[in-house]
Amino acid sequence: MNRLSVNLCGIELDNPVIPASGTFGYGYEFAEIYDINVLGTFSFKGTTKDPRFGNPTPRIAECTSGMINAVGLQNPGVEKVISSELPKLGKCFFKPVMANVSGFSVEDYAYTCALLDKEPQVGWLEVNISCPNVHGGGMAFGTTPEGAAEVTRAVKAVTTKPVIMKLSPNVTDIVAIAKACEAAGADGISLINTMLGMRIDLRTRKPVIANTMGGFSGPAIFPVALRMVYQVAHAVKIPVIGMGGVSSASDVLEMMMAGATAVEVGAANLVEPTVCRDIIEALPAEMDKYRIGSLAELKLEK
């Protein structure tokens, strides 16, 4: 029996470790350095209906135990993702992959999800209603229960695969939003996206990030993420994917004890490209330390 396996919305994962969207490209850069088939799955770069260049540079800033990014959903658009990125992804990853989708209108989300839903390798749709780096969309839908429910309903109406709604921490009541997604038919919830932050360059007296603000991620946000995962997992019945500052096997266990079914790893991939493989290898010994027989047994007791 595989001690690490978990079931995410009806699909068995060899382990709960999932590189988060935007930190793993389409997988092939990492396939140069390790066999990415050791992963549970991964969530590929956020995809929109139309191609996007994203924000001006600098898009990246260093922080204490973390970083800020303001990439702004750069991607070649859903048609190009399907025609050229997914075939390349399919040459180095042989498991169901998680398609991450963003949009600027409810129709955008439905259009992009409907196309990716038809791709055989796509196992789940992770719908990002929480990008802090684009105006007039993304997070706008994720900041109210009504907006989140509207996107959920529209996507569910045109798809067959599990729909996981990715939530923003930059809200007053994340539990209400998670419940609204569940009521609208979501199959799972993932959280948290990055926290809105900024840095100022003392020499220029101007923001480091060209877009002024960006999404703060990395180990510094782990306690905030863990708290929100705990709150949401206790409030909904659908599976929850926990993320935010996860960078070790013990972080994964902590997230699962908070109620996460699976765990995404984000910023850590950018500085330690093998971190997800290292976490998976370290998990059995870490579980032994705390007498955890299997990860499935960590299922939340409510």
């Binding site: 935007g22 930190t23 260049f53 540079t57 990246i60 922080c63 204490t64 990014n69 480091v208 490209p273």
Partner: protein, 244 residues
């Protein structure tokens, strides 16, 4: 791309705030001049990208200017200290396009990557002209090292304290077949305007990962969007769009 541990062999101060560090480790993934490495420094989150200056067996030479916490920590390293280093990053210069008399143009901390290019071009037996631009004579480094390779070395200083007074573009030779350059963006723009042949430019940008995953360092080019870390840092003259 390889992630491995390098050991500091020596640290030498070249000018007031420019340091030369020799590191030993697995250099097998470094193939071209103009590539860079990404160095993990304790206590800092993001790695620090630094250009490859020279390569000799297991020895990697980097030259960097102290501009912040990362480079401060690197400058303070002692022989025997170790760093995790991602190697083999970036495309590097295409030396097969050099022609019969290549020109290398380096400005300030854009000088280091020109060294490995010069060494390899000289090894092919080509005559190489090198223009090294600095603000003032106290900032000059590596002029003798380029001369030892047998390069025709031309120095420019903005204040005229050594060599030609002015910018690298004030010392352009009459004849050259192709050029390779690295330096601050205003210098690169001037080189773009004043050169008469095709050539290659190395760019700098704040990076997240350094290996193409995060899209933190993207720019627009004639041939589409490129990532400075993965599709660059070297762009060919004909593909550059300055309104990035």
């Amino acid at each position: 791309m390889k992630d491995s541990v390098f050991t500091v062999a020596s640290v030498m101060r070249l000018t007031e705030n420019v340091y030369r560090t020799e590191l030993t480790g697995d250099t097998s993934d470094i193939t071209a001049s103009g590539q860079f490495v990404n160095i993990k420094i304790d206590g800092l989150f993001l790695r620090r990208p630094i250009s490859v200056c020279d390569l000799d067996g297991n020895t990697l030479v980097i030259i960097f200017k102290v501009v912040g916490k990362g480079t401060e920590a690197l400058a303070a390293a002692h022989p025997g200290d170790t760093f995790r280093v991602l190697t083999g990053l970036g495309n590097g210069y295409d030396l097969s396009r050099a022609g019969n008399h290549p020109l290398l143009i380096g400005g300030g901390v854009g000088v280091p990557p020109m060294y490995l290019a010069a060494k390899r071009l000289r090894a092919q037996g080509l005559p190489v002209t090198v223009i090294l631009g600095f603000n003032t004579s106290g900032e000059i480094f590596y002029a003798d090292e380029f001369a030892s390779l047998g390069c025709d070395v031309r120095i420019t200083t903005v204040d005229g304290s050594m060599g030609t007074r002015g910018f690298v573009t004030d010392a352009l030779p009459e004849e050259y077949s192709y050029f390779y350059t690295c330096g601050p963006e205003p210098m690169l723009k001037a080189v773009y305007r004043m050169t008469k042949t095709p050539g290659e430019f190395s760019f700098e940008e704040r990076m997240g990962c350094g290996f193409g995953a995060c899209m933190g360092c993207s720019c627009k080019t004639v041939t589409g969007y490129k990532r400075i870390c993965k599709d660059g840092p070297v762009l060919k003259k004909e593909e550059i769009l300055w309104d990035k």
